[in-house]
Symmetry: C2
Subunit: 365 residues, 2 copies
Amino acid sequence: MQTLDLALPDTRYPIHIGRDLLKRVDLILPHLPVPQVAIVTNTTVAPLYLATLQNALENAGIACIPVILPDGEEHKTWVSLNRIFDALLEARAERKITLIALGGGVIGDMTGFAAACYQRGANFIQIPTTLLAQVDSSVGGKTAINHPLGKNMIGAFYQPRMVLADLSLLETLPDREISAGLAEVIKYALLGDDAFFAWLEEHIDALRGREHDALLYAVRRSIEMKAEIVAEDEREQGRRALLNLGHTFGHAIEAGLGFGAWLHGEAVAAGMVLAAELSREYGWLSQQDCNRIGYLIENAGLPVHAPDLGVANWKSLMSHDKKVEQGAIRFVLLERLGRAVLKGDVDDRTLDRVLTGDRVRPCAG
Amino acid sequence: MQTLDLALPDTRYPIHIGRDLLKRVDLILPHLPVPQVAIVTNTTVAPLYLATLQNALENAGIACIPVILPDGEEHKTWVSLNRIFDALLEARAERKITLIALGGGVIGDMTGFAAACYQRGANFIQIPTTLLAQVDSSVGGKTAINHPLGKNMIGAFYQPRMVLADLSLLETLPDREISAGLAEVIKYALLGDDAFFAWLEEHIDALRGREHDALLYAVRRSIEMKAEIVAEDEREQGRRALLNLGHTFGHAIEAGLGFGAWLHGEAVAAGMVLAAELSREYGWLSQQDCNRIGYLIENAGLPVHAPDLGVANWKSLMSHDKKVEQGAIRFVLLERLGRAVLKGDVDDRTLDRVLTGDRVRPCAG
């Protein structure tokens, strides 16, 4: 097991990475102010891992309230969130209860937001069960639900007390979800570490094959980079926005096709390809760089073509982005491989070329 | 105009108290990061004051999105909250928009919670239009909505950038609402300042008659006491819980009768009488003290008898209280007039005597 530490102005918390961590209640117990938890999970994860965690906790004398939600981004709504509140209040759960998120990014985001709001702030632990959640959403305290008019529009910055990234849980993950997680891994390399990008080009097959050492390195390096950026800019006043590389296009894809049609990682992958194209339009990336990015994303099992949403529709969807300021969409672009920048003054003609270019294809439907 | 300053570890903000402040956009403008606001108000307040505020802001070049919600505690729900989000997203409001709460405690609590959640944190200003909101809910950053199983169960600690307590707005307030606000004023005296209690005994008629100097003193002294306690304990880890004097009983009355049947201040008033009775059972308050408290509350135009909810029902309703820890209800009691304490080990027989005593009467229905 390896442990990283995320130090923020008001709090700090450990992120444990390793094998067979689900039964390690010794890691969890010190973070419970009262011996009561709610384990929030979904219909896919519950049959695989809920009993293991619940038994381990109950054997240690912890009362558990399981909350099993429907699986999928399309359920990241107020309706699901309210089912958590209903379960907590029906069980008369106190303010000091700990909510444990056992699931992917959707479960983590919703559980964290529920914890942020329950009696104005309950305790919260992340046990991410997907690669994407382990390398990205479980770390850093962004929590949210979706609104029909935009993804993650309703939420809070709310930090967990601990993150348990158990690589063993990835064994049951479908290949498509491994690929989706690799999209965020590639994102870290692109925005801040070209040596890591070269390492990924070498090890992409090992990662898709779930080789432990490769996964451990990729997960650790990703979390390290995220923790460093979040420590510097918890509330996304500045540098943290760079973590949204590919996400302005990606969120538009998800909203445009309907939440759940593409996995978040898939939309981000196609979005990063468009961000690379836009960076090439500004003369920052070479065609060769764009090709390398495209190859790596393709070799990760991810889409390199975005669906054609129509230029006006693209822009309308992107204008809901949380990075919009004074009406201007701010894009995360690449000055070079391994260096991202925020650009607020992208002109319409350049953007139009990208949105009607080679990397956009008619929707299959 | 008088100005108090609330200093917290992460932020500080001014609370202006005076006459004719609604048109004072010069006080508002410095707190707007972008020239766009949403004015959240209700169907009662909008016809009286929305145009004044909106015109003043628009004349200063500020874009305004008015959001008019139904009036009443029974509308302090997710449905109303979501109408704020809908309006913001339909207008493509940016993260840096300022939400202005123009209304009583319900509008203030919902607008603050909407600001806390919108894109994970928008800007927020309080313009309380009721006496209760001016002396209590607009100051200190507690925001929330109700859940069918408990009041204020879903919410956040989220501070405004400024509070504008315009006493002129109280001129249109119904007498019943003035009395409800006086309940919270009396609460401050009871929990921390016996000289203020004696002043209130002298000036209760002047306050009900809305005499400016009396109101100015009572509002200022109340906010001063609240700001001092909040500055010491923003997240209610300790002393801030004392501000809930009368509220454990009061919330049970509100939930037991259905939100909106009694005004919040009315329920708190009857709750403070029960808290005084419970304090007398412990030998802390004399019968004479209890009588003084009862007289003042009655002279403020407030109920001194709680509805008979049934002992089992009382306890069930109170067990949802946010101050419950490890199963025990924690009551705010009075050691003496002007000194409140938190008591966690109230025994059942003593509580039963109070819940079946003289200060509880059958519900009129």
